[in-house]
């Protein structure tokens, strides 16, 4: 599979929108990790998910952006907010927020980051700058054809997984089985 490379012009606004959206995503990530109140973390995560949907739109993936907004921001985060409301106790916000091994964890993450930087610096030639614009009008149709053709088995397995997850979550959260 060779990447398709063609010379092409980039619209001016793309740079601005990329930096704006990715900055918003990273900023919301920082807020998720550092806020004391879990509701504020959830709000920040919602903002990050919506900014990421914008990034998907810039990558010519409108269907994945739509799925992200419906499922992630509109479904999973509602579930998170429900559970936060159920288990939110004032006492937990007055305790120490970061655990005892925070320095070791931070250093491990920094080491991982150094590994990423090394990989990207060494492999810079693998990612060409100018790439063809994929066709956006039939993105949903093409994904549909691929989902129900090539990835049919994975699709059925995913639906089975969701069924198991529903039954498991209901059983675990019930008061009396």
């Amino acid at each position: 599979m060779q990447p398709i490379v063609q010379p092409g012009m980039q619209p001016v606004a793309t740079t601005f929108f990329f930096y704006f959206l990715s900055g918003l995503t990273l900023l919301s990530g920082v807020f998720v990790v550092t806020r004391k109140n879990p509701v504020h973390s959830a709000l920040a995560l919602i903002l990050g998910l919506l900014a990421q949907a914008g990034l998907y739109l810039m990558l010519y993936a409108p269907f994945v952006a739509g799925v992200q907004i419906i499922l992630y921001a509109g479904g999973i985060m509602v579930l998170f907010l429900f559970v936060i409301m159920l288990v939110n106790i004032e006492r937990s916000q007055k305790e120490e927020q970061f655990n005892k091994q925070w320095l070791v964890g931070f250093l491990a993450a920094v080491a991982l980051g150094a590994l990423f930087v090394l990989v990207y610096v060494k492999g810079k030639t693998l990612f060409p700058y100018r790439i063809a614009q994929p066709i956006e009008n039939s993105n949903t149709q093409q994904i549909g054809v691929m989902l129900y053709g090539q990835y049919m088995f994975a699709f059925e397995i995913a639906s089975l997984l969701l069924l198991v997850a529903i039954i498991g979550a209901v059983v675990m959260a019930k008061k009396r089985i």
Partner: protein, 426 residues
């Protein structure tokens, strides 16, 4: 620069597709203003219609027949004291109405008022509308939680559970309508090969598929399209927390539910978001099942004479409204106290008549067709909302959830499977 502005006027796509930021901005302002005016008009119409359903008169004093009542309400709400509960989380308390407002108004980007009269035509139009309107659940949950009081919390939990449940039924109905866009054949049962049969999620594409198949999807595979429309019509009333599914915000049950602790401008933002969401889901229903912006019978009653007859409808409807206003003027009491109101109503009737006459002029007449029919159909749905509120008793919460999961969802899945089977066979 001027070339940039005028170059769009000769194109035949939406501003979003043409990439024209200026005209997209103009369209956004027009739609925003239109929806705000529609919300105020809806407020007045609801109070008057509910009153007449209950054999009373409704607001009569503020303007002639209460026409200035929404403005008085807006001024009252804007000047009320802004009360924030003491232990409430200030940031979440502030942002909850904004989330509902933004989610309800962002949906209007893809609402098609005509073949090129939309702000943009996304490839994933209907998916975008469903997704963004599901973000208002987050605002409801946060409003209830941030108020730090148990009535709003229970109301918010109930309201969000109800909205999430009926979103699933809405999704099933929408998918069966989207399935119908990929069919060939003309007429309700798809005889003959008339169309190319490409399925599409874009709003304008769905309406054009209805036009190519010569039938509203309401009547497609009768009664399947009708049942799907019925499921969507019931689910959209539950989705917007309106009667008979308004237990979470009913005054007699829960002291106004999740927006109990909000006062003044913040409460009016909730109301604005709720009405805007009502208009948005009604426009989804109109686009998917009722043929969008097309006049009745665009394929069977064709020809310049029929086009002329149907193009007179906008002007005639405004003239009818003007006649009703003048009848109201004639019935006003002949007392000096009512002089200002009589003059006001006569002026209002004159303005309506003038708009009606303008809509008879040929250049305006041709361009206003699509927008008029779309808005007329959505207005019909708005009246149905008020009718439901006046007529039906409230559902109890467990009955509500039972209807959503055990009645609407199985019927929706059944309709989807039958539509798919019929689509393959026919």
């Amino acid at each position: 620069m001027l070339n940039y502005i005028t170059s769009y006027l000769s194109s035949d796509t939406t501003p979003g597709q043409a990439g024209n930021v200026f005209w997209a901005f103009v369209y956004i302002m027009v739609v925003f203003g239109g929806v705000s005016v529609a919300v105020m008009a809806m407020n007045w119409l609801e109070r008057k219609a509910l009153a007449h359903f209950q054999i009373r008169l409704g607001p009569m004093r503020v303007g002639p027949h209460g026409l200035l009542q929404p403005i008085a309400d807006a001024i009252k709400l804007l000047t009320k004291e802004d009360i924030v509960p003491d232990k409430a989380d200030k940031f979440v308390f502030w942002i909850a109405p904004l989330i509902i407002l933004c989610a309800s108004f962002t949906v209007y980007i893809v609402v098609p008022f005509g073949p090129t009269h939309a702000i943009t035509d996304l490839n994933i139009g209907i998916l975008f509308m469903l997704g963004v309107s599901s973000l208002s659940v987050l605002g409801v949950v946060m409003a209830g939680w941030a108020s730090n009081s148990h009535y709003p919390l229970i109301g918010a939990l109930r309201s969000s559970a109800q909205m999430v449940s009926y979103e699933v039924a809405m999704g099933m109905a929408v998918v069966s309508a989207v399935l119908m866009t990929s069919l060939h054949g003309l007429g309700p049962y798809g005889v003959g090969a008339g169309t190319s049969g490409t399925g599409t999620l874009s709003m304008i594409g769905i309406v054009q598929a209805q036009q190519e198949q010569h039938v509203w999807f309401l009547f497609k595979f009768f009664p399947l399209g009708f049942i799907a429309f019925g499921i969507f019509a019931i689910a959209m009333v539950a989705e917007t927390n309106r009667a008979p599914f308004d237990l979470p915000e009913a005054e007699s049950e829960l002291t106004a539910g999740f927006h109990t602790e909000y006062s003044g401008l913040r409460w009016s933002l909730f109301m604005l978001g709720e009405y805007a969401a009502m208009i948005a889901v009604s426009s989804i229903a109109v686009t998917l099942w009722l043929g969008g912006w097309f006049r009745p019978f665009p394929n069977t009653l064709t020809g310049p004479t029929w086009d002329l007859v149907f193009s007179l409808f906008p002007g005639l409807s405004f003239l009818a409204l003007a006649v009703i206003a003048f009848v109201g003027v004639a019935r006003m009491p002949k007392h000096p106290y009512f002089r200002v109101q009589t003059i006001g109503l006569a002026g209002f009737g004159a303005v309506l008549g003038l708009i009606g006459l303008i809509l008879f002029a040929p250049p305006v007449r041709d361009r206003i067709q699509d927008i008029f029919w779309f808005v007329a159909k959505v207005a019909g749905f708005m009246y149905l909302y008020i009718w439901y509120r006046a007529t039906f008793p409230r559902y109890r919460f467990d009955q509500l959830m039972k209807v959503g999961w055990k009645v609407l969802l199985p019927i929706g899945i059944g309709v989807l499977i039958l539509t798919a089977i019929l689509g393959v066979l026919l």
